[in-house]
């Protein structure tokens, strides 16, 4: 039964992908991209990857759409037709597709317990996590403790992306008058979306915090929580106007979140070294190594959440500020 459902979703995914490529109206493409992400999230969920599904739904279907729309507001809505180059593109895509299809012949059956990925370190993680870290969600244990270096790298990627976008979009055009951000009123004149949105914002942020602190016990963690909280603040910005959202969460706080989150993560690693362990080896943080691991995971997850939330909101505001300029 689940197989039929997965097949149905994958078929829809292919149809959506073709529609994205075929559509010349970029607005339609952005909306289809959002649908694509939602279908992808459902697919991940079917594959029992609830953590990834949550991230895909929050980032792919939620925030990316808003950022794409903000980018669209700065450019044209229609795709510019370009003559030539189609044959080269067709050839490249054809070769790539053939390679990928060829590679799938070597792929083990879905859910095959003999697959190499289930033979390498995965059994060790599943077996030893209750002993070493003692949290139910092994994904969080792998992400923040065993593979802590990778996650630190990811946080710095987010940090770098945020800085990069701010450098590109933060450049002010020369004849820029006083800030007009306060004027962009959002949906202030639309009563129904505003009332419903105001009702939802606190619950979205609350759910984000739940995802943050429940990450050790169920699907969730810093990445998802940061994205969900950012979604809540962006909804607020869309309803009340960007200036109002900046008054609630000013730019300095956002930058503080990005820098603070990355520093918090790295700082925990340094503290681990100072206390006599290896970098990001949380066991030394407390007399009881298991509690030390849990403490380390809670702190670095908080760092991840701060960095992701701050980065996404900074990028959103960078686009929005650009729009409100004439």
């Amino acid at each position: 039964m689940i197989f039929v459902f997965a097949l149905f979703l994958l078929t829809l995914l292919v149809i959506t992908a073709i529609a994205i490529v075929r559509s010349e109206n970029l607005f339609v493409s952005v909306m289809l991209t959002s649908i694509f992400s939602l279908l992808m999230a459902a697919n991940f969920f079917i594959l029992d990857a609830a953590d990834v599904a949550l991230t895909e739904a929050a980032v792919g279907a939620g925030i990316t759409t808003v950022i794409f729309l903000s980018a669209l507001a700065l450019t044209a809505e229609r795709e510019k037709r370009r003559a030539g180059g189609q044959l080269v593109a067709l050839g490249a895509v054809g070769i790539l597709a053939a390679l990928i299809i060829y590679a799938t012949f070597d792929k083990p059956r879905l859910g095959d317990p003999e697959a190499p990925v289930h033979q390498h370190v995965a059994p060790w993680y599943l077996e030893k996590t209750p002993e070493y870290i003692d949290i139910p969600n092994v994904v969080t244990a792998i992400l923040s403790s065993y593979r802590g270096y990778d996650t630190l790298g990811e946080v710095f990627v987010v940090f770098t992306a945020c800085i990069g976008v701010l450098f590109i979009l933060g450049v002010k055009p020369p004849e820029q008058p006083a800030d007009r951000t306060a004027e962009s009123g959002g949906l202030r004149h639309h009563l129904i979306p505003q009332v419903v949105g105001r009702l939802l914002v606190p619950f979205i942020v609350l759910f984000g915090l739940y995802t943050q602190f429940h990450g050790e016990y169920g699907p969730g963690g810093g990445f998802q929580a940061g994205a969900i909280i950012a979604t809540g603040v962006i909804l607020y910005a869309l309803l009340e106007g960007e200036g109002e959202a900046l008054r609630a969460v000013p730019r300095s706080v956002l930058l503080g979140l990005v820098v603070g989150g990355a520093l918090l993560f790295g700082g925990v690693g340094i503290v681990c070294m100072l206390m006599g362990g290896a970098f990001l080896d949380y066991s030394v943080l407390s007399a009881d190594p298991v509690w030390g691991q849990q403490l380390g995971i809670i702190i670095i997850e908080a760092g991840v959440g701060m960095a992701v939330c701050g980065a996404l909101l900074s990028i959103f505001h960078a686009f929005a500020a650009r729009q409100s300029q004439p």
């Binding site: 639309h190 129904i192 979306p193 419903v196 949105g197 009702l199 939802l200």
Partner: protein, 113 residues
């Protein structure tokens, strides 16, 4: 006995909900202009949501899952009609008049809807 009764009621609700989704989908594709189409699509937002979620809650019984389902249902019942309103309002503001004439200009309405 009571289990069978609950099962029957829940399956009836789920089937009715599924039918509502189907009718809404067919309506969104087949009706002549934008406003009638979102009218059909809003059927999935409200009636189908209630029917399917009550059906699922009956399946879940008295558990945490029922509470979560109720929360999701409330969320969808709040956001669905709001989204439909926002869509219709945006269309109206951008100059799409809800006249009977637009049925004649079907293709143009299609392109915009």
């Amino acid at each position: 006995m009571i289990d069978i009764a609950i099962d029957i009621v829940s399956w009836v609700l789920l089937t009715l909900g599924g039918a509502c989704v189907l009718i809404g989908g067919v309506g969104a594709l087949r009706l002549p202009n934008f406003y009638t189409r979102i009218h059909a699509a809003s059927l999935t937002d409200t009636m189908a949501t209630i029917l399917i979620f009550v059906g699922m809650m009956l399946q879940a019984g008295l558990s945490l899952a029922t509470l979560k389902l109720a929360a999701i249902m409330l969320f969808l019942l709040l956001t669905g009609p709001t989204a439909t309103y926002a869509l219709a309002n945006a269309a109206l503001l951008s100059g799409l008049k809800p006249d009977a004439d637009t049925i004649v200009g079907k293709n143009r309405a299609d392109a915009r809807g």
